[in-house]
């Protein structure tokens, strides 16, 4: 296929793609993330209850399937349930506001267990309650009553008395102590939990329960209540084979009465049946219209149910002496207990008079009396219908976003993205004229195709995703800038337009591919390793980078290729390529010691700031709860604090009024230790009562310590992997010595950013880290472009010192670096100004990253590379020879010595460099790479490894003198030409 036909084909293909994309955008809605439409996000960590086993992928997949079915019952539209890492599940529920109900429905294990109650009771409680209907031994009863009195739970209370006669302990500590004394049952397959469980109690009496049961001891201190937990509390380990359960007394209506604290029991963990043995659970009503849950049994369940109820009935029968009345039989009958989540839901008797042979499992069974309201019974029935989770789920993070705040964030994000795009277009057109127009068409095509892909895949668009989108606009524009600068160079070197375009793309493409591959790799690492919120950012960036390669490189090449001979492209000024262009003559390497010093001072300041002020980590890392609320009535921080305290919400942190005109004049942000869902609701209710809350004006985020630690770990892992991958890629594409300066430059950027964040006190969130990590990939774009040009210039300048090669290379690409950096900064600045709070957070990280990255690629990476490469024997000899020729000094830029050589390379663009020799006279000795290295052990005369050995071996003093003479004559001629106004 000829190039003209290929270009036409590409053009038609992209135009077709844009049309199809337009149709997709018109017909398919964009899927918005929770942060843009409001809702609830829950993150759970899976924990297995089986001994010696880890949570498997199958467990997580099964749990996801069950959670999805539970959510369907909640009636949530477009929920998302996804696996996160190895053992976590993230649940996004758009539009959900009742966090507590959602949490109970989604994350409860919901595994019911059925116990033969009296047979499993252990310890003194069995002495008291082991034989219902018979008077318990007086001594045991008296001891029990004393325990209750000691626990300040007077037995005069009827409900307490009920618990005393049931043999319960007044505190969890006593029941747990009893359970802890039992022999462990190893590899217990019948147990509900085959692993030890841990409880944390207050050290001081009465040893209040602080946390538990947990499957891992460390979880006692990091469980999501967020309260400060005493490290010196008493930990009790309950061995497998025994469980601790609680039970509330029942009132006259037979319902659980939660007005008092429950009683506690230790039980042998030998359930007769489990929730797996039941079928068709449904919510129904009892004779007194009370809500209950009825269900049937599987075949195995029927047999097991009949068997256990028969055993219970026979034990009751054995207590009866002779014939008994129905009422006596009821009192003498033993119990059957239904336990859910370590709580007795119901404990009916098995009346031996009515069911002497047990209860026929075919008639099913029911749970009654254990519900506070109809909704609770309905939820339990639904949960039982769907089935139990195969693992325990521990809630480690919860975020609730109001619809208003989400919509506001979306508007701000779109505004910022559009303004960023418009500014980038304005700059491109102003600077590159016609080429800028081509870039604009490419950017618009990019925007349409990319947005269609977002709708088509679909990519859930989140705030971090919008930040990624804005960044990809910069990436796309940068690709164009790299090529356009090369085209301008070729045009200025005298090539025809079509040849300049071809050469520009040929030279630019490898640079762009290198840079884009690194951006893609960073995005990929972030996507794989980062937490949920960051994934959207990484995915958007990755897809955007690929699309930008199509539109900014392939499409523009086809467009320009077709127009190469058109009149529009004949004028150099129409391309912004009139004149000789800006030739930088600055001695970058010579001045680098001063830039090194500047960086050193900045880092020292950063180091002292970090040591004294540390970093202001957000709740993503530190855990806690953040509430943003828009109040109807004006108040101040104290007013909000008082309202919360009156409601009993322990918001111990910072309360501050924040400026958010979109939400009104009375917007407050409350930061505290992590509040439980119930407390968040209490806080909302208190604020509504006291001041009124604007419609959808309540927004909360809770992050548990486990999740915070995980965010930090994933950030560090992503950083390390990014560095390794970037270094590996550069070592492969360039040479290993090029990788180390890049690594040093990246560390320099990371530390400067850390210092800036410490100094400014700005909050470091997971988004900040993600934005910065991605910027690293993007900012080494500059380094790659400088290094690419160095690699290109090394064989072209076989007699130049390495510092001269680097100076020349940086001079060649500095305009591009500044133009690209400026275009990206336009987008980032737009985010800073128009993007709203969250995007501003991203933008600040990007701003610091871009500034530091651009600076370090020029003033850190290249000088380090120079200093290192100049130690190579070949370059040592070159320096020595140049110094000898130039009277002991090494000029910053190579003069006609290599220019003469270059003229034989048939490379027009580097032949003319009128100002190249000018700075030579001003170059200062002693800079990083221009320091004379006469002291080194690898000095003149050692064996060379350069590619220029052959060229250098014939040099001698006579030749040097001849060259000096020739150069002096050329300088004189040039000076004369300048004097007469000719170039």
């Amino acid at each position: 296929m000829g190039s003209r036909r290929r270009n036409l084909f590409v053009l038609l293909f992209v135009i077709g793609l844009v049309v199809v994309s337009g149709l997709i955008i018109a017909n398919k809605e964009t899927k918005l993330g929770l942060d843009l439409q409001g809702g609830l996000e829950l993150v759970y960590q899976g924990q297995t209850t089986r001994a010696g086993e880890e949570v498997s992928g199958e467990d997580i997949d099964d749990s996801i399937s069950i959670i999805e079915r539970r959510i369907n019952e909640l009636g949530v539209s477009e929920p998302e349930v996804a696996r996160l890492g190895q053992d976590e599940i993230t649940v996004s529920l758009p539009g959900v506001t009742d966090a507590r109900r959602a949490e109970e429905q989604v994350g409860s294990t919901a595994q019911l267990y059925y116990y033969d109650w009296q047979a499993n009771l252990i310890g003194p409680e069995k002495v008291i309650a082991g034989n219902p209907g018979l008077q318990p031994p007086a001594g045991a009863l008296k001891a029990s009553e004393k325990r209750w009195e000691d626990a300040e739970r007077p037995t005069t209370n009827e409900l307490v008395k009920q618990l005393v006669f049931a043999g319960a302990y007044p505190t969890a500590y006593e029941a747990a102590q009893l359970a802890a004394e039992q022999e462990p049952v190893e590899n217990c397959e019948e147990c509900s939990v085959a692993r030890p469980r841990y409880y944390l109690f207050e050290k001081a009496e009465p040893h209040d329960l602080i946390a538990g049961p947990e499957l891992a001891k460390k979880d006692l201190y990091v469980s999501p209540t967020g309260e400060k937990r005493p490290k010196n509390g008493t930990v009790v380990e309950v061995p497998p084979g025994t469980i601790v359960v609680s039970e509330y007394p029942t009132n006259e209506a037979g319902e659980l009465d939660e007005s008092i604290e429950p009683g506690w029991y230790a039980l042998k963990d030998e359930p007769a049946l489990s929730g797996n043995d039941i079928t068709d659970p449904e919510q129904s009503y009892g004779p007194n219209n009370e809500p209950l849950v009825s269900f049937g049994f599987t075949d195995d369940g029927q047999a097991a149910f009949q068997e256990v109820t028969r055993r219970i009935a026979q034990r009751g029968q054995a207590n009866a002496i002779g014939p008994v009345s129905g009422e006596e039989a009821e009192q003498l009958s033993h119990h059957f207990a239904v336990i859910l989540e370590n709580e007795v839901k119901t404990r009916p008797i098995i009346n031996f008079a009515e069911n002497p042979d047990g209860i026929d499992g075919r008639t099913g069974a029911q749970i009654s009396g254990g519900f506070q309201n109809l909704q609770e019974a309905q939820d339990l029935a639904t949960t039982l219908q769907i089935g139990a989770l195969p693992i325990n789920l521990k809630l480690i993070s919860q975020t609730q976003v109001s619809a208003t705040l989400g919509s506001e964030a979306l508007d701000q994000g779109i505004t910022a993205a559009l303004i960023g795009l418009a500014l980038a277009i304005l700059f491109l057109v102003a600077y590159y004229r016609f080429l800028g127009l081509i870039a604009t068409i490419a950017l618009l095509a990019y925007g349409v195709i990319f947005f269609a892909l977002i709708n088509l895949i679909p990519i859930t668009l989140t705030l971090p995703g919008i930040a990624g989108l804005v960044l990809t606009i910069g990436v796309a524009a940068d690709s164009n800038i790299v090529i356009f600068e090369r085209i301008k160079e070729e045009v200025r070197a005298g090539r025809s337009m079509s040849s300049a375009i071809a050469a520009g793309y040929r030279h630019g493409i490898s640079t762009i591919i290198d840079a884009n591959v690194l951006t893609l790799l960073t995005a990929f690492i972030l996507f794989v390793l980062a937490t949920a919120g960051v994934k959207g950012f990484a995915f958007t960036l990755g897809v955007g980078t690929i699309v930008s390669l199509l539109t900014a490189v392939v499409f523009t090449q086809a467009l320009l290729g077709n127009m190469g001979r058109s009149r529009l492209l004949r004028s150099r000024s129409a391309l912004g390529a009139s004149g000789e262009g800006k030739k930088w003559t600055f001695d970058f390497i010579g001045a680098s010691r001063w830039f090194f010093s500047m960086s050193g001072v900045i880092l020292l300041i950063g180091g002292f700031a970090l040591a004294t002020k540390q970093l202001n980590f957000g709740i993503d890392f530190e855990s806690g709860t953040r509430i943003k609320v828009a109040l109807e009535q004006p108040t101040d921080e104290e007013g909000v604090r008082d309202a919360l305290e009156e409601a009993g919400v322990a918001a111990d942190g910072e309360i501050q009024q924040v400026d958010d005109p979109n939400l009104g004049d009375n917007v407050f942000q409350i930061q505290s230790h992590q509040l439980e869902p119930g407390e968040v609701r209490k806080a909302e209710a208190a604020l509504i009562d006291e001041f009124g809350v604007e419609q959808d004006g309540f927004d909360s985020t809770s992050v548990g310590p486990t999740f915070g630690q995980q965010v930090a770990d994933s950030a560090i892992t992503a950083l390390i992997f990014s560095l390794l991958v970037i270094c590996g890629y550069i070592a492969l594409r360039f040479e290993p010595k090029f990788a180390i300066p890049v690594l040093i430059a990246i560390l320099h950027d990371v530390l400067i950013t850390a210092g800036v964040y410490s100094l400014t006190g700005k909050e470091v969130s997971s988004g900040t880290v993600a934005a910065f990590l991605t910027i690293l990939g993007y900012s080494i774009y500059d380094t790659i472009i400088v290094f690419d040009r160095i690699r290109e210039n090394i064989p072209r300048m076989p007699r130049a010192a390495f510092s001269q090669i680097v100076n020349r290379s940086m001079s060649d690409v500095l305009t591009r670096s500044l133009a690209a950096g400026f275009t990206t900064l336009l987008g980032v600045t737009s985010l800073m100004i128009f993007g709203g709070a969250v995007l501003q957070d991203f933008a600040f990280a990007m701003l610091v990253g871009i500034a530091s990255g651009t600076y370090s690629s020029i003033f850190i990476a290249s000088p380090v590379l120079t200093a290192w490469k100049e130690r190579e024997p070949g370059f040592i000899r070159r320096r020595a020879r140049i110094a000898e020729m130039e009277g002991g000094r090494v000029p910053a830029y190579a003069d006609e010595i290599e220019m003469a050589k270059l003229s034989r390379d048939d490379e027009p663009e580097v032949v003319s460099s009128p100002s190249a020799a000018a700075p030579a006279a001003q170059a200062e000795p002693g800079a990083v790479a221009t320091v004379e290295r006469t002291e080194t052990g690898n000095g003149v005369g050692s064996l060379g490894d350069g590619d220029d050995e052959g060229a250098e071996n014939g040099d001698g003093d006579a030749e040097s003198a001849e060259r000096r003479q020739r150069n002096a004559e050329r300088r004189a001629r040039r000076k004369a030409r300048r004097k007469h106004g000719r170039r």
Binding site: F596, L610, Q614, H748, V864, W868, R871, E935, T936, G937
Partner: protein
Amino acid sequence: MALLVFFIMGIALWHFTVFVPDRFWQGIVGAFVGAVFGSVIFGWIVQSASGKSMGDTDLSTALIAVPGTLIGLAVVYAIGMRSEEHPG
């Protein structure tokens, strides 16, 4: 956090090695390695010996890194000089 402070101080001081004759083992990159390892290892030893946790930082944490960095740089410089005097 203390390790981060040692690290940043080591790298900060490394920047000033451009004013020292380049006789470090492996040049500027060797100096980088010496500065970083010196500051982090010395800082870690002193921090541990003083009974402070690695999470606690104050002005002294930053200052601790200075002698560590200088020791690290001196070691790398000495190795560099030695290898110049005894090449191979």
